[in-house]
Symmetry: C3
Subunit: 307 residues, 3 copies
Amino acid sequence: MKLNRKDILGIQELPVEEINLILDTADSFSEISTREIKKVPTLRGKTVISLFYEPSTRTRTSFEIAGKRLSADMISISSLTSSVAKGETLIDTAKNLEAMNPDVIVIRHGCAGTPHLLAGILKPSVINAGDGAHEHPTQALLDLMTIRSKRGRIAGLKVAIVGDIAHSRVARSNIHGLKKMGARVSVAGPATMLPRGIEKMGVAAHTRIEEAIGDADIIMMLRIQTEREKQNIFPSLREYSRHFSLNNGNIGLARKDVLIMHPGPMNRGVEISPDLADGSHSIILDQVTNGVAVRMALLYLLTGGTP
Amino acid sequence: MKLNRKDILGIQELPVEEINLILDTADSFSEISTREIKKVPTLRGKTVISLFYEPSTRTRTSFEIAGKRLSADMISISSLTSSVAKGETLIDTAKNLEAMNPDVIVIRHGCAGTPHLLAGILKPSVINAGDGAHEHPTQALLDLMTIRSKRGRIAGLKVAIVGDIAHSRVARSNIHGLKKMGARVSVAGPATMLPRGIEKMGVAAHTRIEEAIGDADIIMMLRIQTEREKQNIFPSLREYSRHFSLNNGNIGLARKDVLIMHPGPMNRGVEISPDLADGSHSIILDQVTNGVAVRMALLYLLTGGTP
Amino acid sequence: MKLNRKDILGIQELPVEEINLILDTADSFSEISTREIKKVPTLRGKTVISLFYEPSTRTRTSFEIAGKRLSADMISISSLTSSVAKGETLIDTAKNLEAMNPDVIVIRHGCAGTPHLLAGILKPSVINAGDGAHEHPTQALLDLMTIRSKRGRIAGLKVAIVGDIAHSRVARSNIHGLKKMGARVSVAGPATMLPRGIEKMGVAAHTRIEEAIGDADIIMMLRIQTEREKQNIFPSLREYSRHFSLNNGNIGLARKDVLIMHPGPMNRGVEISPDLADGSHSIILDQVTNGVAVRMALLYLLTGGTP
């Protein structure tokens, strides 16, 4: 089976078989990063450009390591050091990059839909590395991979997602992915952070964390974007933390073997207590490790590889 | 035949035979970027440092891709993240880099003559990637390559260059190159943007775009640097655009098969109308594609390669 | 003999045999950078991440070139373009990078002790590329290598270090290294720039440059950090320069064959006169060349290589 598409834009449009294909491929690639010589010649002579309009360490580095371990030529462009300042349109920048014959363009942009716009215009594959509050599909794929590898399955699990659901592309992509793979999903957050009509996505929505995490197999804590405090979406960090952090006081509501996830970067002591972040339930760093494998799988499959 | 020089500093000092050598080599390299595996081991073990004191996406990325497709080790230094802020002289920075045994240093700098200064001091080859308003030889070479590949020749063609001639290193390098290759060149711009004595370069100078583009085979539109508006070099962008943009109203003055070029980044709707930028006469993206091939050729020839 | 440690954190804890091992290995690696093909496959498939929280050209580039010449995959993260701004703790950033399975993490940080903190937590090797005013061990190693290769030995030489001793990690690391290798060390600087109890490190401390450099075999001039002027550590640059610069007026106090060193970047005309910086006594650029070799040696030895 080959991946039946040119681009990875979101989980919403990805059928279950392709998700499984990606996860299976990622599973098999994950071994490479544990070898003495962490490099295979698979993508030798392929050019991958990452174009980040928002700062990032984790995702950009993960793609760069993934590509280099596959021997691809990796080119990194950040809006800080580029001619973006010179007033060129995004489409012109992208068409210019396309003219240099890359195989894949990885893009992160603050505006939802940007990767889709480019994918429709460009010949190379486009991978969405996060578009506004819309989707972050590689994050959801690495989350699915992590759950599957830890629990052996996704179907039937109860997954709670807690935080600023309305503004989180991680939440959106994960809800799509988890529902497709058969999980039950509940979300919790302050009323101002729950998107209207969220129930239509097939999730149970709560305004109390306790309701969402009850009997959960998996709890995904979202990063609270502290800059939103100023926008009056919530009264104060302390207030938010008191009501919506995961801590030793409420973790007992979940299943005994609950797994705790976080896409990072974490605000320790705000959305999650430090001891839970570092404790035995946490699989936060497994997520990061699997991120490299998922991105290797995507780069491989999009450039024509078969598992 | 080998390239008879250590550095590429400007088109002014480049004899016709060497220009032809570079263009021929670039022609033969351009095929590599269309292969399934876009990589050859030619420059394995060579070190190329790019040192950019001005922001750039296009040129920096083009060099990086060119070098990586030849298997060179590419090191990128931008003044934003470097110790330039610490008050070291440019020459000391360059001598320090030289001490690390690079084969080629690619430099862009806001001051005219900087690459020449370094070339006289340093053992590695120096490529001028743009020095102030002086020269941008790799841009001119890729423009010549593009014209030659589209028209089969350069000699005898009429080429119009329109915009801020006085402050454009692209214009200067192209005038030198086009004249050497036997083209007829006319330039147009507001009187404040035409350098005094420009006719001595062998070009016809006009203050109306219509006069310059009449019967042109090629029209090169220059980027208007919008920050100059504040310096009162022209009254307003709208005014500039009304008199000097290329659009459907004046394109008919050129030859029917006229080709439109632009070094990028474009100000759509200012110096060029969007439909012409994207239309069938435009070879703007071919320029970008050829940029990679020209830079591959230069890196190859400067490190001792023979065609 | 193998290097008996996971990390390179400082010269203070490095025994003489390991210093010699590193210098010997660096000596043998230095030839690679003079070859036609400056690349060996030794570290193929190893991942080296450099994480710089302070700007740097010299050190960052030196590590990058060193790693690439050994065929390692080099990943460069600077705090300017990373998620450091998002408020993640340094330890979380480091643990995240660790989860991507790098072999070596090279870190520069403004806070003394940061590399030691990370080394105690992380499985990959950690190399200190400068921590606050504490240590800069790779600088000291390249300085020792340079002295040894120029003089044939270190033991018994008289080395003078002049400048802001109190705030210089270069001075601290060099004092440790030089004393271990049997050199006699004298330091000079304004009283405000001499740390209290410096004599306990086994050096002679002076408040006049003339006293320190008398009969010196080697003079190391430190970069004066001009921003300290505002902190009233010294009255003015001119004042500082008049009393503590190395120039033709005082160089005659040293041995006839004295060698002049500087870790860069230099403030010409402040701590060192330009003619001495460029003169026949100067081995400043040899230091830079040897920096690549020392870093190749460290990357090699830390990833399990044997000389």
